[in-house]
């Protein structure tokens, strides 16, 4: 650790009273509060930060913001490690650890740098042309290619932090907290609008922080402080710093990503790490600024080549000299400010190289005053030095041939500041569907026609002068407030600023090297795309900007070509001999800068990925040691294992107890729909294939409903509760879809029917009491319902009290046993269940789970989702006789289609293993000859399979071609993926009590 040799003696916005210790590549350094990792590294003289994607070239720090393509690092270790962070955005905090990535063994000596020697063999798209022989080797080639690609390393442990979401509704959303954005916020805030302001950086002020402009004759920072203070007092204004507007969606919905605790060493665990905002804004002001463009010349990627604005920011904002001796290379005016500021910070400016022949005398005088030389009409043709700039070669530039001329002159320096002009940050504007246009004066794309309720102001709108920024900001803020319905007179008067010059840019897209000059000219620094790569794409016909991008990977890195795209497409325009707008841009897509998957996920993590739906008896099942199974959002008790029992034994025991004594299962998740209205019966009659008009009050009927295409949709029972009042049950899985289906027909198709639908699934706790002893048990728990077979026959409905709770009793049976379904108001569910369990103990009652329930219904040939699979008809499933011939119902007309009446349709059958022992594999296919080599024609499929503890042999349901005609024949159920095959006999699907004596008894 030493004293930060490149830190200026004073100045900057860092807190020199608060030194911070951090580690980079294993070495310990010191910086200050207010530093970024990049500024702290530079303060310590560290320029070599990373290695490039393909050639593993040494790379340094190019920028001071979100656009950084080079200085990507891996921070922290273990579960909190994070790859690909931009050193320019990482707020320094005590104990930060960071390291270079994509290099081995070290960033200083990286063996993969040999790729550079072969670079001639591996131009853009080389992999499409090779690695094809021998074809078997591709797997090995790919392995090597994959290992070489990628940047940082993914964590391998679950993320220990938490994240959250927030919704916001703003009259005016201002994006960007520079002078423009602050002015806009002030205008809208004063008008009384609800304003949300989002700024990606820690501090407010944007580009002002990096400069030394004056506002109202004072340092701009004073003005910023005043405005922020005023905004903070406004109740309806919300200021969000460290917050990136990541995405702009339809109807003015903007996604913001806020970094809440990322910058802290140890954080308050009550706070989320990051917060994702979804802002629905009436109006949006985009004040996102502009990003400086680098220039394309030989070895323009060397550490020490830096954007002029970034070098200026390091000097002014962070008190860091990015080098000792600098050269400034520019094609526009803005870099002159940088030259002066760097010089003032104590950097030796060797010279300013300007491609323009004519430069404003004001600027030249300024340089002269500071003792800085200037070479106009000249360019930097190349950089020397590998891990750091050591000197540059300068030549005169012939504008007619667009080539350097004469003799190169070598200038010693360790810092080369470049400025190729500015690209307004139009990303969000484009995402909002705004159309951009190319501005020849600025040589950049600027907003043209807006599509949503949004406007751009300041530099992102192509207004590069501070005075214009302030004015546009004030106007935009005012206009937005007015559009949002606020009355405010005129825009606030923008404050006065110092003198300014126009940018006066002369486009310079590529500095071709003099002949025999070696080295690479990078367009896309992160993805190692060079100017010759663009030329290669051109000569191979990949000339559309989209093909250029995909063939060379230009702009596909983590920086999304933020600083490279315009240079790349300008070079392509030159090659094609067309204007830049003819080439066009690639599509700007969310997110603006990458955001964590954690923030997008928010609280929907782990067990909370989706909400859990619990029945009223859930806690009982937990206490009883149930194993749970997800059924949609519900968690249902699957089986209650007893100590010493295997899973299969437990399931078998439960299923047996129902047939032998009595069992009870929680059926609360079944969908329940309360149907009332004068036309309720007519409605049901149209919904179900069978008749519901003549169902008497106090009776239950089983019903089947189809989709309009004639395929079975759902089944269940419906009870006539009272006059014009029914209750329908649906399968658990279809509870939601059936409700929507019914609502659609009731509201949209048959609005003339008087029918009201209310979901009462949650109102009633449901329990099915089944088994020969169920009546006896029921008698013990009700005083007021006569449950005798005469008073309460099969398919009867009664109300009364059960275990002291008001109850509905349905004499229905899924298990095929004497059975009752009890519904009690859900708040009573737990107690009633417990009470019945207690009362049933002497009879040997057993709770049973979904597994045993499934066995019982398979034994009875009752169908569920395996059979109602969206492809089967009522006829296939044996419901043919239920199809009414006297009325219309949903799906009826489709039933005449020939394929629905084919002879070979697969019909529901039962299967029994021929040997009476071997389980019928779940998911098996049915074939005639298991030995036949593929393709082996399949006659059908096993839809449900189990071991029947009551029959003491395995059984299964299946759908088999023409199955009903093949009862008694043998076929084979084969499951190659589990290596099982069994000879099976085709039977009727009802295995137990086909005469239905048990359930009617």
């Amino acid at each position: 650790m030493n004293g930060q040799p490149f830190r200026t003696a004073a100045g900057g916005r860092i807190n020199r009273a608060k030194p911070l210790v951090f580690t980079f590549n294993g070495r310990i350094y010191q910086g200050f509060e207010g530093d970024t990792l990049a500024s702290a590294l530079l303060a310590n003289g560290v320029h070599l930060v990373g290695r490039s994607f393909k050639y593993h070239r040494p790379r340094g720090i190019l920028s001071a913001g979100a656009e950084e393509p080079n200085a990507l690092v891996q921070v922290e270790t273990g579960a909190r490690t994070e790859p690909n962070l931009r050193a320019t955005q990482i707020e320094l905090h005590e104990g930060l650890t960071a390291s270079s990535q994509n290099c081995w063994p070290s960033v200083a000596f990286d063996v993969s740098a040999v790729n550079g020697w072969f670079s001639r063999l591996i131009p853009a798209g080389f992999y499409y042309k090779t690695f094809m022989w021998p074809s078997k080797w591709w797997k090995a080639y790919e392995h090597v290619i994959r290992r070489a690609a990628g940047l940082g390393i993914a964590p391998s442990e679950p993320d220990p932090d938490h994240y959250e979401h927030r919704f916001d509704h703003a009259d005016v959303l201002v994006i960007g907290g520079g002078p423009t954005g602050l002015m806009a916020a002030l205008a809208a805030g004063r008008a009384g609008a609800r304003v949300t302001v989002a700024e990606e950086r820690t501090e407010w002020g944007g580009a002002l922080l990096a400069g030394n402009e004056t506002i109202k004759g004072k340092p701009a920072a004073d003005w910023v402080g005043g405005v922020v203070a005023e905004l903070s007092t406004m109740k309806e204004v919300m200021m969000l710093s460290r917050t990136t507007a990541a995405a702009y969606y339809d109807h003015n919905m903007v996604v913001l990503a806020e970094r809440v605790t990322d910058h802290q060493t140890s954080s308050d665990l009550n706070l989320p790490r990051q917060r994702l905002w979804q802002v629905r804004a009436n109006q949006v002001v985009l004040a996102t600024g502009a990003i400086e463009r680098p220039l394309v010349f030989t070895n323009n990627d060397r550490p020490g080549v830096m954007l002029a604005s970034a070098a200026r920011a390091y000097a002014n904002q962070y008190g860091v000299r990015a080098g000792r001796q600098a050269v400034v290379f520019t094609n526009n005016n803005s870099a002159y400010r940088a030259a002066l500021d760097l010089s003032a910070a104590g950097i030796d400016i060797e010279t300013v190289i300007d491609v323009r022949n004519e430069v404003s005398p004001v600027l030249l005088d300024g340089l002269k005053e500071a003792g800085i030389g200037c070479l106009t009409g000249s360019v930097v043709v190349g950089v020397h030095g590998t891990k750091r700039v050591s000197s540059v070669d300068v030549m005169a530039f012939d504008t007619t041939t667009a080539r350097p001329e004469g003799k190169p002159r070598r200038v010693q320096c360790d810092l080369l500041c470049v400025s190729g002009g500015w690209n307004p940050t139009v990303h969000l504007f484009s995402q909002s569907r705004g159309k951009i246009r190319y501005d020849d004066t600025l040589a950049a794309f600027v907003p043209d026609v807006s599509f949503q309720n949004e406007r751009s102001a300041g530099t992102c709108n192509g207004a590069f002068q501070l005075a214009a920024c302030l004015r546009e900001g004030a106007e935009a803020g005012t206009e937005a407030a007015v559009q949002a319905g606020f009355k405010c007179g005129t825009a606030p008067e923008p404050p006065t600023v110092g003198d300014e010059l126009p940018t006066a840019l002369q486009p310079l897209w590529d500095v071709p090297p003099p002949s025999k000059f070696r080295g690479k000219r990078f367009v896309d620094l992160q993805n190692d795309v060079t100017a010759p790569d663009v030329a290669l794409a051109h000569c191979e016909g990949y000339r559309s900007v989209e093909h250029l991008k995909r063939y060379t990977t230009l702009g596909m890195g983590t920086d999304q070509g933020r600083i490279s795209n315009v240079n790349g497409l300008a070079i392509m325009a030159g090659l094609r001999g067309v204007a830049i707008p003819t080439v066009g841009t690639t599509t700007f897509r969310p997110p603006y800068t990458p955001i964590t998957l954690g923030a997008i996920t928010g609280t929907e993590r782990g067990q909370h990925f989706t909400p859990i739906r619990r029945s009223a008896m859930y806690d009982w099942h937990v206490k009883a040691g149930a194993r749970f199974v997800p059924a949609g959002l519900w968690l249902r008790a699957q089986v209650y294992e007893r100590p010493g029992e295997s899973l299969m034994q437990a399931i078998g025991r439960e299923a047996k107890s129902v047939r032998e004594t009595v069992g009870m299962v929680d059926v609360s998740p079944l969908g329940k729909i309360d149907i009332q209205g004068r036309n309720a019966a007519e409605f049901l009659n149209r919904v179900y294939i069978n008749d519901f008009k003549k169902l008497p009050i106090g009776r239950v009927r089983y019903g089947v409903m189809l989709r309009e295409d004639g395929i079975v949709f759902d089944d269940g029972t419906t009870t006539h509760i009272a006059e014009n009042h029914f209750m329908m049950t649906t399968t658990t899985a279809n509870a939601g879809p059936v409700m929507q289906h019914l609502e659609y027909y009731a509201h949209v198709v048959w609005p003339e029917l008087d029918v009201h639908l209310v979901s009462v699934t949650e109102e009633w706790a449901g329990m099915a009491l089944a088994g020969p002893a169920s009546r006896k048990l029921l008698e013990a728990v009700t005083d007021d319902i006569d449950v005798s077979n005469e008073a309460c026959p099969f398919m009867a409905f009664r109300t009364g009290t059960i275990a002291g709770a008001p109850a509905r009793l349905f004499r229905i049976s899924f298990s095929g046993e004497l059975a009752y379904e009890i519904n009690v108001p859900a708040d009573y569910g737990m107690d009633v269940w417990q009470w019945i369990m207690n009362a049933g103990a002497p009879l040997g009652i057993s709770p049973y789970g979904t597994e045993a329930m499934s066995i019982l219904r398979i034994e009875k040939g009752h169908v569920v989702s395996g059979e109602i699979n969206g492809r089967t008809t009522a006829g296939d499933l044996g419901f043919g006789s239920m199809l009414s011939t006297t009325k219309d119902y949903i799906g009826r007309h489709s039933l005449t289609r020939p394929a629905l009446n084919d002879d070979g349709r697969k019909q529901l059958v039962g299967l029994i293993p021929d040997d009476g022992r071997t389980a019928v594999p779940r998911g098996a296919q049915i074939v005639a000859n298991p030995k036949r080599v593929a393709p082996n024609p399949m006659l059908g499929e096993v839809t449900s399979s189990c071991y029947s503890p009551n029959l003491r042999h395995p059984i299964a349901l299946a759908i088999v071609a023409d199955g009903r005609r093949h009862h008694g024949e043998t076929l084979h159920a084969v499951s190659p993926v589990t290596d099982e095959a069994v000879k099976v006999r085709v039977t009727d699907p009802v295995f137990i009590d086909p005469e239905k004596e048990r359930l009617r008894g």
């Binding site: 690909n84 042309k129 964590t596 990925f609």
Partner: protein, 418 residues
């Protein structure tokens, strides 16, 4: 056509790669072609390639309104598989899979077909049943399939959360080892280069605006670059199928929906299998460049915008984090959308139409990338011989009226549900 080889690469290296020929010409459209293919996506280009290669029909033009491969071919998650349950689908996609296996060599263009395996995760008993049922059907049809238990899955995909401590614990999975991914753009470029070399005219920036008919028979097309005559016209425009068919007065059971996909920042290899999950509604793989590529359900409403909205992104990302809790700290780098042609039963239509000489290839939903070679192959056969190949007989337009639909999901005539 300059053959690509390590030698041609080395030779060109000496010239600083200045002498490579264009991968395909950009000719002016001729006045008339034997066959016009509308749509320069993978399917259209493959069709043109196989027309020339297999049927000797070379007086062919592919008309593309934008840039080649800029439709769904250029925006899909590149999953290639043939793990279908229903007969018709199984045989067709398996033919396609076989063509994938030799595509790079056949085209002399490395499409980077990576047979890294496609794993479908089951999170419930019914899903276990369904996957085994499908795996069994595949095996009986001669297609590779393996059923893996949780331990085997954990070994194959170490970062996957295979614990019980998740909302939808993983119970097992169906692996198709030969499934995998391919470099999507290369598929379009490879077929374009191959077709061009065999005489096909590939014409970009040429939008078809009308289909000309005479007496119930196709005679040509109107385009933004003028009218072009043709004896036969094949439509392969994915999301725009309805619009093109309407130009010829043909109604199709298709809706256009937007499907989004996204990539993370590039990272070193950490996921070597394609993983899909029914319960979590997402599919994910890692590209050779290092990004995680993932997607999920449709946005859920008709759309012709190649952009979607946030709810689906949120859901897909949450699903990814549910499966891979370690990925939560990785970052989303780019999202995009494509307009997919959702058919009413979820299966494609590759068929003759009621208009003579007009052929349709569409209804690919979100699964047509893997079909690219097979689709081109059977469509070329259908066009050349004016009758479907046995492999695409089941993909007729008439199946909806007869009821012979191919509904893998059993979702019914709700296009957004497939």
């Amino acid at each position: 056509m300059t053959r690509y080889s390590i030698f041609s690469l080395a030779r060109n290296a000496f010239n600083n790669h200045r002498d490579w020929p264009a991968a395909w010409r950009s000719p002016e459209p001729k006045a008339e072609y034997d066959v016009i293919i509308i749509g320069g996506g993978g399917h259209g280009l493959a069709t043109a390639f196989y027309l020339a290669e297999e049927h000797g029909v070379t007086n062919v033009a592919v008309l593309e309104k934008g840039w080649l491969g800029g439709g769904n071919t250029g925006r899909n998650t590149t999953i290639v598989r043939s793990n279908y349950l229903l007969e018709g689908n199984a045989h067709f996609y398996e033919k396609s899979m076989k063509l994938w296996e030799t595509m790079s060599q056949e085209l002399n263009f490395n499409v980077m077909m990576s047979h890294r395996g496609v794993l479908n995760l089951a999170h419930s008993d019914p899903q276990v049943d369904a996957f085994q049922r499908r795996g069994n059907a595949m095996r009986l049809n001669g297609i590779d399939a393996e059923y893996l238990d949780r331990n085997e899955i954990q070994r194959l995909v170490p970062l996957l959360d295979c614990s019980d401590n998740t909302r939808y614990p993983i119970m097992g999975g169906l692996l198709q080892p030969r499934g995998g991914t391919a470099r999507h753009d290369a598929v379009a470029w490879g077929y374009a280069r191959g077709a061009d070399a065999r005489g096909v005219d590939i014409i970009q920036n040429c939008e078809v605006t009308g289909i000309k008919r005479d007496d119930g028979r196709v005679t040509g097309v109107e385009t933004t670059r003028g009218a072009i005559k043709a004896k036969k016209v094949g439509i392969a425009v994915a999301g725009h199928t309805t619009q093109l068919c309407q130009m010829a007065g043909v109604d199709v059971p298709i809706e256009s929906h937007v499907l989004q996909a996204m990539v993370s920042e590039p990272i070193k290899p950490c996921l070597n299998t394609v993983v899909t999950s029914g319960a979590a509604h997402c599919y994910i793989s890692q590209s050779d460049k290092g990004e995680l590529v993932f997607g999920g359900d449709l946005d859920g409403y008709n759309s012709f915008a190649q952009r979607g909205n946030f709810p689906i992104i949120e859901h897909v990302v949450a699903s990814v984090c549910a499966l891979f809790p370690a990925f939560s700290r990785l970052r989303l780098m780019r999202t995009w959308g494509g307009v997919v042609d959702m058919s009413m039963d979820g299966s494609p239509i590759i068929a003759k139409t009621p208009v003579d000489g007009l052929y349709l290839n569409g209804g690919w939903c979100y699964g047509g990338f893997k079909a690219t070679p097979g689709s081109g192959w059977v469509f070329a056969h259908t066009i050349a011989g004016d009758r479907p190949h046995a492999l695409n007989e089941c993909f007729s337009l008439e199946r909806f009226a007869t009821g012979c639909v191919l509904d893998e999901k059993g979702a019914g005539p709700v296009p957004g549900a497939h």
